[in-house]
Amino acid sequence: MTQIAAERYTGTSIKRSEDPRILTGRGCYIADVKLPGMLHAAFVRSPLAHARVLAVDASAARALPGVVAVFTGADLEAVTIPGPDPLLALMGGGGPMPEYTLLGTDKVRFVGDPVAVVVAESRYLAEDGCELVEVDYEDLPPVVSAAFALDAGSPPVFANLGDNIIGPPKRSEFGDVAGTFAGADRVAEFHIDVHRHQNVPMEGRGCVASHDADSGIMTVYAATQSVHVTRMGVAMRLGMEPDKVRVLAGDIGGSFGLKIGASREELAVAAASRSLGRPVKWIEDRSENLTASGQAREESFDVRAAVGNDGDLLGLDVQMVIDTGAYPVMGTMVPAIMEMMLPGPYKLAALGFESTAVITNKASYVAYRGPWASETFVRERVLDLLAKDLGLDPLEIRLRNVAPRTNPPFSMITGRPLVGVTSKESLERVAQIVDIPAFRCRQAEERARGRYLGIGLATFIEAAPGPRSPEPPSGPMGMEHMRLRLAEDGIVTLFTGQMPHGQSHQTTLAQIAADEFGVPFEQVRVVIGDSDVVPFGLTGGSRSATMTGGVALHGARQLRAKVLDFAAVLIEASSRDLEITDGQVLVRGDPDSAIRVGEVARQAASGRFDADVDTSLEVEASFDGGEGGWSGGSHCAIVEVDAETGIVKVERYVAAEDCGALINPAVVEGQIRGGIAQGIGAVLLERSAYDQDGNFQSATFMDYLLPTACDVPRIELEHLETVPLDADVNFRGVGEGGMIVAPPTLVNAIEDALTPFGVRIYEQHLPPARILELIAEADAG
């Protein structure tokens, strides 16, 4: 296991250093930022899904007392550089890009598309101003379904693209697909849909932009998962040198993938500040967040499965269509990840995969906690459907197909080796905890009484960060960097580009560094959220446990060595005989020799040493992930479905997870439970709904329902003994897992409950009305 020096804190649920301010209302979230002379922005947004903009008349708005300025799409076009979304520009794989202006000029492309921004003395007055902006629209036929978007006759949402297919069908094959299907005992076909739903952090998007004309520096207070990516986005679109943009972030009220880079609204606000020479603040309200911030997961799959009669899943051939909405952000990037991950931890011998990405008049498809999660939904759904067709138990079919842990490791047909994967163990463990045979007895008894209980299982793996690759990691999700220094007050400071928004990095990274360096937990400070000060980093992809935990460990070790090398000069001892314990440097075995690390730092700063003595007690560390590894687990849910009302209650939920070594068990468990809650929401409650004209119908919390304390049961969590792969860093990411595997777990349970009705489920959104429809359809059919 991890060879941390003292291991006093790592592995313990030490209380969070974030909490004193969080619990007393002293956190600083973006809406709390106030600058002298600050103005407030509100956006004029399209009420139509697809329309030409013929004219924008802001004269009445500009005349309203308290309104300082109105910037139309044309006004901003003159002072910004057109281009794609910054995240897409950073990570997108090329291909034709749609051309559009920052705010709508000639066209609007979804309900909520921003057309103008009103800047006023208060948000109230800015919204008054918005109501006075008159926009002349010419309705165009909306493209609301992927099916219509695929039709060459659908009106192109972007003139320069010619049609609405932004990712033309791209097919890959792994293994002998044709041969596997030809030789299979049977080939089953399914069509599976995943519905549109969204991140919904409790805090929406927002920023305060402040441009200083004298220095030419644009300061942006942001709510973001990376201050550096936001900085790059602002610089790119405002035509500024990146060095002239400083991004600051404090506490962030959740994100789940939403707040990355710079949105069109944030860029407009920055441009407004530059034009006005005053700070401008924009805080999106909930209807903006639901309507316009972005949505996720709208995908459909045509699946063919090559199966052996004994239950061997030999091959899958999948055709996928992803609805990227109107302004592409993440949608075109997701299929490639899905393709790679589809085999999961199973011995799949062949995979055919084809994806098409379409543009529609809906909000952008954005990253949402495990953006590729539908690969697990499709695979785990298909396994259950096949099990039913073959008369096999869902646990049995999974244990039959899961890859054994071999040496050398079994590789997914798509390439990556399943090093250290414990899927078999987690399936067995979760089955053991739940006692499935006993449940089956109870299920039968309850069915006789007209009560419908069901049990569902699913397993997943996540590349968090994934096993070591032949090439070193590159790009924004590449090497992880950290600066560490020992200050004269004895505080070890870690400067990281991570931008926690619930992940508790200020606690977990301090745990690791305190142990490795040799100071009390309270003597480590984690600095985040200032692009002038922290190295490049991005919180996302469940990478921080390994990448940032690892760079903190190695960096603290390097800093410790440096401090001891200097202390050796100071004390006139050999650094080999020195250690740092409890914040003191001492000669091993001689407590009287102890000097506080702060004093050592003060001596280093005194200037009295020769130039050949290295007195800079600071290191810049980088980490490539070490041996890395997979995270994963198996979940099991027991549900009851009321066949009269369609209401589903989750009676019991058990998860056996392997996310490597735990830095802080309470933090890990919180992440898993939160992800599972989002899975419950996705299946039972949440849907980002559009009508056939593209009108958005889920713009309030009365329509977009979120799970409450009465909807999420106590979740039983079991942590598996992990397979250590690295000499030092065996922490693995856990942020996304719960949300990846909970939806198929629940849908499998619901289908199991409805077995007496002959219901088969090929979708993910199962509110009461849908459950009743499925029962009725199965009855009729």
Binding site: K15, G253, G670, R673, R714
Partner: protein, 160 residues
């Protein structure tokens, strides 16, 4: 504009607001008490919960002018001299929260609950908090924090 005087956290504050200014905006913008958060502005998420005359109230659904003559307590008013109150301490010990945005609303709602129902059990707590939405935790750790606070308070009373 309307001139109002409101008592918040034991202090009297004078302000001048538009009639339509919500209590949440008045607290945050005029009084710089930004601990009260705004999550939806339509009374569903509970992040804006404050205590008005002893009852938990959604400050986004109340106008500032309606608070004239009332005693308002926000999350800033719970702990004295920067020390955590018993409920806050129990929530800290229980790792109740992650991003913290929903936290002030939960703290105020739970505070009101325990004030009136110190013997509240898990089901009662879940129902009382079902009007506060958290997107990060799945609620279990929050419930545990409230249960811990209730248990400690029971033990304190037993010792007296």
């Amino acid at each position: 504009m309307v001139d109002i005087t409101v008592r918040v956290n034991g202090a009297t504050h004078a302000g001048s607001v538009e009639a339509r200014t919500t209590l949440s905006d008045f607290l945050r913008d005029d009084l710089d008490l930004t601990g009260t958060h705004v999550g939806c502005e339509h009374g569903v998420c509970g992040a804006c919960t404050v205590i008005v005359d002893g009852r938990a109230v959604r400050s986004c659904l109340m106008l500032a002018v309606q608070a004239v003559g009332s005693e308002v307590t926000t999350v800033e008013g719970l702990a004295s001299d920067g020390a955590l109150g018993a409920l806050q301490q129990a929530m800290w010990d229980s790792h109740s929260f992650q991003c913290g945005f929903c936290t002030p609303g939960f703290v105020m709602q739970a505070s009101a609950l325990l004030g009136g129902h110190p013997e509240a059990g898990e089901q009662e707590i879940r129902e009382a908090l079902s009007g506060n939405i958290c997107r990060c935790t799945g609620y279990q750790s929050i419930i545990d924090g409230v249960l811990l606070a209730a248990r400690r308070s029971r033990e304190d009373r037993a010792q007296q």
